[in-house]
């Protein structure tokens, strides 16, 4: 691809994700961002949706959120998610139409097939971007993500290769309404883009409720490595229950298998925006804390007084979780009993 000049690549794409024919919310967050970037570049924002049996309202939704073009890629082979097929189709469309920027959701599916697209196109891909902006002098996309550090961020660019590929987690960008008179295109899919080495035997829908509950909760209690023992989770779950909230975790905790992976908050997990968030034994590595957004009150409990989490806390409590948690829980139990009487 290097022999093609950068100037031949135009337009900003937002790749959507559908579940049972309907868009998942990150799709509109991405087209809104794509429109903002396209305006800066004076080019078109294009929504690309791959699937089968896609609800017709999808096109309207995109045009209400700034899409100049909706590429509806409908095929029965796209009814289920197969990593190789999705990658071949998206890479094929990119090769033939040459967008300069492609935003894709950092969902489990997006993270599974976008690296295939990247490699097929021999270009850069930045995972889990938090902010995206255009460098005006050379149209280059500035891609901001969390680095491994206390409050450390990194700006990444892909100066020469095209397209510039990024993934963005759900709930990171905002969906914005911009009524746009767009057009719908239905590109032809050559047969050889659909060849696959895999077969989906069964799809089970299960955890929707739990992870949605976490992302929508008004109160989130977070378990970090510093809770030290699995038994403390029982207390955290009771605390979350009494406060009408949900339990989330850092990756250290889900890696230990103490909580399911979908409870992981952070760059590669979910993003939460509760009014109250209480973290126990969380050090505050930014890969986790970027998943905590627009929190009104953040309480941090950690025995290490130097932990970076205290820099972002409303209230910091330097204490051993094993002592503080049972005492705090008992106090909340008392309050609940009193209010019940």
């Amino acid at each position: 691809m290097k022999n093609i000049s950068k100037e031949d690549w135009k337009g900003v794409w937002a790749v959507a994700e559908c579940h049972e024919g309907r868009l998942i919310p990150v799709s509109l967050e991405l087209i809104s961002k794509a429109r903002e970037l396209a305006d800066k570049l004076q080019t078109e924002a294009v929504a690309v949706v791959l699937g089968h049996g896609i609800d017709g309202a999808v096109c309207d939704a995109f045009m209400e959120h700034g899409a100049h073009v909706v590429q509806l890629v409908e095929h029965e082979a796209l009814a289920v998610f197969r990593d190789d097929v999705f990658a071949q189709v998206l890479a094929g469309l990119i090769r033939s139409q040459r967008p300069e920027i492609v935003l894709a959701p950092a969902t489990l599916a997006g993270k599974a097939y976008m690296p295939r697209v990247q490699t097929m196109l021999e270009t850069g891909l930045t995972a889990g971007c938090l902010e995206l902006d255009i460098r005006q002098d050379d149209r280059v996309l500035i891609q901001t993500r969390a680095a491994w550090g206390g409050n450390l961020f990194v700006n990444i660019v892909c100066p020469d290769a095209r397209p510039q590929l990024v993934t963005v987690s759900p709930n990171v960008m905002s969906a914005r309404r911009i009524l746009t008179e767009g057009r719908v295109e239905c590109p032809e899919i050559p047969f050889d883009w659909l060849k696959s080495g895999m077969e989906i035997l069964e799809s089970v829908y299960e955890k929707q409720d739990e992870s949605v509950r976490l992302t929508k909760a008004e109160v989130v209690v977070v378990a970090g490595r510093g809770i030290e023992k699995k038994e403390n989770l029982v207390l955290l779950q009771e605390l979350a229950g009494l406060l009408g909230g949900a339990v989330g975790a850092t990756r250290a905790v889900t890696d230990l298998g103490w909580l399911p992976e979908y409870t992981q908050i952070g760059q590669t997990g979910v993003t939460v925006s509760p009014r109250l968030c209480i973290t126990f034994g969380v050090s505050g590595a930014v890969q986790h804390t970027v998943g905590l957004r627009n929190i009104e009150i953040l309480v941090a409990v950690n025995k290490d007084s130097e932990a970076p989490i205290f820099e972002m806390a409303t209230y910091g409590i330097v204490a051993d979780v094993n002592e503080f948690l049972p005492a705090f829980l008992e106090q909340i139990r008392k309050k609940r009993r009193n209010s019940a009487e």
Partner: protein
């Protein structure tokens, strides 16, 4: 006999990592290195197949000469062969350049039936190397796998999706990336440790892999780090001091006043 490649990465041990409050950077002093935790689950998945079906397990890592230790740890757990992909010119590689090195090395070892990787590393945190490597090896890939079973017609995988899980049948050769929940990895045996100590580990550089300078390291990477920066948080940062009882009541007062209790 089945041949399985397992790609691992040596990373700083999260249990020993501390960050400087001002610069946000990792404090290098006292940081130990370990095999990226989920890569141990990838190795265990391969070992389980070896136990039940028989297989030769080839472990690879790209890294500095000191990554030899990670490979010996993998051998002591039961891997059969280990290869260190090391060259100063590999430094600064992004995920695209990394997959070129891993792919060439795997092709050099010989035909593989399976490649197993951890889903992502704790330091890079991208989850991109596995699926990208699969494309270079012309294999299908299944990511975020939480259960794996070898069947006559291929690998049957349970993989996590945004909505639950899928049961996927993938034909061999194939690459899978596994989640920590797939298994509990075994510990090295004494015999394994002895064997690992004396094992010969080939070190392959760019020449040995037939890679040119513009394909590897920083030069071969399309992405560049523009800058690293620290963002200070606008937070009240009120410390609640005193003994546990005092801290608990101070917190309850404040939360009640804010109307969140």
């Amino acid at each position: 006999m089945l041949n399985i490649a397992v790609c691992i990465k040596q990373v700083p041990d999260a249990r020993t990592v501390r960050f400087d409050k001002e610069t946000g950077m990792m404090i290098r002093d006292g940081v130990e290195t370990v095999i990226n935790p989920v890569d141990l689950n990838a190795l265990e998945a391969a070992l389980a197949i070896k136990d039940s079906h028989g297989a030769q397990i080839h472990v690879l890592t790209m890294g500095p000469p000191s990554a030899d230790k990670a490979l010996r740890d993998a051998l002591s757990m039961g891997a059969d062969f280990a290869y260190l992909l090391s060259d100063r010119a590999f430094a600064g590689a992004d995920t695209l350049a990394t997959t070129r090195v891993l792919a060439k090395a795997i092709q050099k070892i010989g035909p593989m039936d399976m490649v197993i990787c951890g889903n992502q590393s704790v330091d890079g945190d991208t989850a991109q190397v596995g699926p990208g490597l699969a494309v270079r090896l012309d294999m299908p890939s299944v990511a975020y796998v939480s259960a794996l079973e070898l069947k006559p017609e291929g690998l049957e995988c349970r993989r996590m999706t945004g909505y639950g899980h899928d049961s996927v049948l993938v034909r061999l050769p194939a690459l899978v990336t596994v989640m920590p929940s797939i298994n509990t990895h075994r510990m090295p045996s004494l015999k394994g440790k002895m064997k690992a100590k004396s094992a010969a580990i080939p070190v392959w550089n760019a020449d040995a892999l037939g890679l040119s300078a513009d394909e590897i390291g920083l030069v071969g990477s399309p992405t560049r780090v523009l800058n690293i920066f620290v963002r200070s948080f606008e937070a009240r940062k009120e410390r609640l001091e005193g003994d546990t009882e005092t801290q608990v009541s101070a917190l309850c007062e404040r939360l009640a006043a804010a109307g969140v209790l």
